[in-house]
Symmetry: C2
Subunit: 581 residues, 2 copies
Amino acid sequence: MKASQFFISTLKEAPAEAEIISHQLMMRAGLIKRIGSGIYTYMPMGLRSVRKVEQIVREEMNKAGAIELLMPAVQPAELWQESGRWEQYGPELLRFKDRHARDFVVGPTHEEVITDLVRRDFKSYKQLPVNFYQVQAKFRDEIRPRFGVMRGREFIMKDAYSFDKDEAGMKVSYDKMFNAYMTIFNRLGLNFRAVAADNGSIGGTGSHEFHVIAETGEDDIVYNLNSDYAANIEAAEAVALVSERAEPQQTLEKQHTPNMGKCELVAEFLNIPLVKHLKSVVLAAEQVNENGEAVTQIVLVLLRADHQLNEVKLSKLPGLSTTRMATEDDIMQAFNTKPGFIGPVHPAQKVLVVADKTVANMSDFVCGANEVDYHFTGVNWGRDLPEPDLVADVRNVVAGDPAPDGNGTVDICRGIEVGHVFQLGTKYSEAMKATFLDENGKPQPFVMGCYGIGVTRILGAAIEQNFDAKGILWPAAIAPFEVVICPVGADKNEQVRYETNNLYNDLLKEGVDVILDDRGERPGSMFADWELIGVPHRVTIGDRGLKEDGMVEYRGRRDEAATKLLPEDVAAHVLAQLKAS
Amino acid sequence: MKASQFFISTLKEAPAEAEIISHQLMMRAGLIKRIGSGIYTYMPMGLRSVRKVEQIVREEMNKAGAIELLMPAVQPAELWQESGRWEQYGPELLRFKDRHARDFVVGPTHEEVITDLVRRDFKSYKQLPVNFYQVQAKFRDEIRPRFGVMRGREFIMKDAYSFDKDEAGMKVSYDKMFNAYMTIFNRLGLNFRAVAADNGSIGGTGSHEFHVIAETGEDDIVYNLNSDYAANIEAAEAVALVSERAEPQQTLEKQHTPNMGKCELVAEFLNIPLVKHLKSVVLAAEQVNENGEAVTQIVLVLLRADHQLNEVKLSKLPGLSTTRMATEDDIMQAFNTKPGFIGPVHPAQKVLVVADKTVANMSDFVCGANEVDYHFTGVNWGRDLPEPDLVADVRNVVAGDPAPDGNGTVDICRGIEVGHVFQLGTKYSEAMKATFLDENGKPQPFVMGCYGIGVTRILGAAIEQNFDAKGILWPAAIAPFEVVICPVGADKNEQVRYETNNLYNDLLKEGVDVILDDRGERPGSMFADWELIGVPHRVTIGDRGLKEDGMVEYRGRRDEAATKLLPEDVAAHVLAQLKAS
């Protein structure tokens, strides 16, 4: 490709709305242009990277036995009514009426369409398993689109759906996809982690997210540097930090703790380490009692004072799927005190006490005394108060926690979710009566998995992970071009033109994705453009170099300095660098 | 590809709603599945052909200097309000409000988005010309979707937009696209014609349509077998069939023609050839007079009796852009008679007389006498009635007409429109104030062209042109697979398995797009599947053939019979056939 026949448009400054580095650099490098809120045009330069991601995804999906098709973006509402998502899905779902007043959606995902397709065409277990995928523009009406392609409204996604005759088969399909994803993100050249994830609203029985590790990530990832273990903090198992409960050593005493409504203040005042204190979180759960009446259950969640509540874990406990923060009135009624002095010892009313696993093994601990300006010290389960109603893992993991796989401790980093594999089970097939005949001729619901990759999001994530002050540092596999040739003084030096064309043609012959910058820009602005755009390899063919020592310059985008080479050696050098990258 | 790892689903019968052969065959061959009215999934088999079309289109667009990008499907209404199409476009345009109640469209085309993009990035004539294209799913809410992918609501289109500094530059860009389209449709292996077209509602100054020739086409194409001349019947020039007006030979006579309201009856009754008769078409045009008042102008269009009115041509005459059929009242008032006996001689009121070019040169003709049951014979312009107010080409061409290029006569066939190139001019750039600075530093509107190809429609058109009783006859370039290998008796014959795998691997090594049918189907149903799907080349490796004479069979999809070959010769034979096709 010659730059004069391509479209390059760089900006010195990023527009004000670009808050994060990938958004700023994608706009500055001219990879995308904003058309509306969360809606972008992929400019020629950006589209090249999109296509490279798509190509790697397709190759690995095909290798893993998935079959590509293309479903329509527009879907009849009837299918969504069957699955129940017509009601469940919020305003992110673009719904519209056609000219005949029939309801449709612009699909944010395609579980319904593929389930409908498979139920009509797959009648027997002999036809299973099957896995269909597509690469397609999706639309989700995000309430606050931002961060460029990271949280856009229209975006390109690869979505795959597997259908198996049973749970065991589904797990095999799931593992194939998991492995394909590992290969894909490795080939993309990204530092990533596959992390155990919470299933979220899509439903199902197991899932992993694939996160690109980047400081600016929106998710906290718990990982073990010594093993493959990694999990989203929402799902990461937090083990008990006290392995078993010690015998009480202290007596229960009420301490005056004036105006000390925070554990840290109480700990300092009483000179007792924070890890001996309990934090009380009061929630209200709307439940239905034995008589079928709606009742509000007050829930007291007890955490070690240095820990944080994990609401996702809490929501999985029986009866606690939906909770809200308790009001001051709720608290006054249940504990006869104010927030800051609440504790599990003799509340005013019977409440449901949920103790984190660590808390359940603590002894001689400190907690609120249910009396303003007072705390108890030397509190012990059984002796001073009943055992908790529930003991469960309800806290966020913190760095330094023992790893759940028993292998040292965990660390926490931030990640950007770029892929997700789900074990859907029979959620959709049961709702949509999608069945096949099993070995005994009996109808059975398909056991499904679904597998998504955010194709355009990968561009943003790759940049968040790979940039410097000058611009993007593309991984070689997804750079818009692999190599750029920058001639300097070509207008007045025949040899510059000769060596430039020679190298360009040699690299083209070798199948290298090379761009020749024949725009005639001044060297400074030309180099700045390519550093901003982030092409990994650059060759400068300058009239001065050729005159002085007959040399041209190679420079990798991450190199500290250029390497001087004879013109006849440069093609081989570039090819060797490409091979190594 | 092995069939067992692919998805093949054929039907014996097409669904009832499939009215035309391409729709029937695409459904039966499992290329598409219907999801809703005019909305289809491209199944793996169909998607392969779609991708092959896309690939050829991309290659030729790139060669012609067009640059690929990808605009969003969802577009802000503001852009459509600027261009005026928000009001002009009918219910085919999918409009919706997002969650913040802002108006959007799902783009049926992208003139607005690309014009907005170019006006923001292109400031100088030095940056021109430029031509951007994309390949994308579009949505048009057709009132009556039908014919499968031929008139669907969601479809894949390649749309390109060129921007030039002046008319001459735009014509160069247009010609490049025209030539690229010629190459594309030739490479696709289709019998097609580039035809001069009417511009339709998109506006602009010149356009060509690309039609695949097929009996079932919706458009009449006028073409010259002896030259490149071709035009849509809406636009095809009809020359005067009488080169100059002869001197009157007859006197005007009023003839009693009882109950003969049709020219054919009058011609037979009077024993005067039909080509001597005029047909009168009465229309009403809503016009504005010199005082700015709305007035209804009655228009009498005169055609030779064997000709048909061309409304598109008529609508381009001054004051006649919008006309309607006259009512019986209009006619009674203007002609004091009933339809069937109307003529240009002494109407009751002054009417606008528009004579087709042929009519203007006729003499001694027959026409209605503006009196029920009477016609005139021996009528002559000037002598018996004033010269017509307007002489113009207002008729449809008929087969056998002299070609407008002077080269013999024209014929008429039916075509399916699969591509369209438009000279848009400054329609959008003026409406949207999209300007650049010219050589003198003055702002000028971009001069635009736009160029569309109906990617998915091409599949339907290719099938309408290429099918037989057994199924599809794909052109080699866009067949889902080039070659199918059908082993027979592989389960019980080691040699069948050996030769099959040998050939399969040999063809793969040569880069042939081959599918090996390892499903274990019975031969009859296996052959029927591949004839229906229309793979152009088939090799059958049968245990009987190998045992009897050591031969395997090659058969082209259009061949009358199979060719017997030694297993060691078959790969070379297939490669030769592929080269020849």
